[in-house]
């Protein structure tokens, strides 16, 4: 009896060690796991983009145009979203974007605390290097600095160069 017990003990010990090792080998949970689980649970209802979002191409006309050494280069165009780079003599200064918040209405929440305005539209600092304005309570226009030389004042200046009034009339 005694002799039989020893292998059992060894086997149990090995199995336990394996379990311990394999649990150590898996990656620590990511801070984005919850979003993944919620998104997977939504199944086919996972529509990150609302079907009524404005066609991206409709936003292009409201971006500031090229002027002097400044260049605007469109980089992404998806439903309810257009993005462009702002460059000066070929160097990246900032990323410009217009987003239809119908696809992610929580983006509008921060504007409730806005104290500043451009053309009557609420303006806020969103994050550490990004300034945004909410047009017609629907379209978020943002300018994000590509490096620390492009200041918050410059971001505001470039936001005012968008045709915000024209955008506010877009249906």
């Amino acid at each position: 009896m005694k002799n039989k017990k020893i292998p059992h003990l060894i086997i149990s010990f090995c199995l336990f060690s394996l379990l311990l090792l394999s649990s150590c080998a898996t990656q620590p949970p990511s801070r984005f796991d919850q979003a993944q689980q919620e998104s997977v649970a939504a199944g086919n209802k996972n529509t990150a983009v609302d079907k009524n979002a404005v066609k991206g191409a409709n936003f292009n006309q409201f971006f500031p145009s090229n002027s002097g050494n400044y260049q605007r280069v469109f980089t992404q165009e998806k439903a309810g979203f257009v993005q462009a780079k702002l460059k000066e003599n070929g160097q990246d200064l900032a990323t410009l974007a217009i987003f239809d918040t119908i696809s992610n209405p929580s983006a509008k929440d921060d504007f409730k605390n806005s104290t500043d305005k451009i053309n009557g539209f609420p303006l806020i600092e969103k994050g550490s290097n990004n300034t945004a304005v909410l047009v017609a309570n629907r379209y978020q226009v943002s300018v994000r600095s590509a490096n620390s030389n492009f200041s918050s004042e410059q971001r505001k200046e470039w936001l005012s160069k968008f045709d915000l009034t024209g955008l506010s009339q877009l249906k």
Partner: protein
Amino acid sequence: MSKSIFELVDNLPKSNVTTMVLNALDFVVPGQWHNVTNFEQMIREVTGETDEEMIQKIGDRAVWLFNDKTQGYQNALWLYQTVDKADYALGAAALANKVGSKIGLLSFLNRLTPNNEKAQALDLAIKLVVEVVAFCQINGLPGDSIGDFVAALKEYESDALMRMAALICLDGLVPFGADFILKVESTLNNISTQELNNNTGFSSVSKLIPGNNPAGKLQFINSSFDAVKDWMIGFVSSHNLTQNEVIKNLSKFIEFSEDQLDYVAAFLDMSTNYFEHTGTQSIAKSLISRAMAEV
């Protein structure tokens, strides 16, 4: 359900034959590519953001966007993964048999079958078309807008630029030398739709290549190549790229002789997946860049 975008990035190898090859090509586009294999780190680098709440929101939004199949990112990933038919066992064996700092090609010759010229030329053309289609899936330009793609090539940077540099060097210059463009052109001009259909590279990705039938798809491949060839010629001349220069840099970690270039090309084809590796990085960066304006 497929993997999340953060898993895909976090699971990218830190060091394997692919990363060694890409590092060896750093001389072409110095400093453009570094191997980011951590999604959170990528968010910090792409956005320059330091606000933790904002980083969380950006990552969460990127996760949702990636999982929405209507948004094209899954198609792009599939294309990048499918066009690379790497034999991971060969890559692992090559690393295991490394003598000193070099991989000896000699011990793998019996496992390698060099492509004939036609198959090799077609391989380059198909990879290029995959890049055109994946670019449009990721960045949302219309699926057949080759002109937009060529304009955007000038904006290519980091992983995307490295991918194009690797395509020119590994699939163009190494097997064909300086006149690789002519070789591909003449192959495309003389190929029948039947031959195209029989090509395994083409048949694996053909369902996402624009065109209603094989003839239409062949036409799309031709016009893609036509539109991009001037950019490639310009890239080769502005970077003073030659077959010798590429070989010199590859021979820093692979040991081979000059009469084995066919085998080097076959070895790189089988042991690397640089389209999938850098393609995953490009998709994640594009998602992050979009997500930062959508939260």
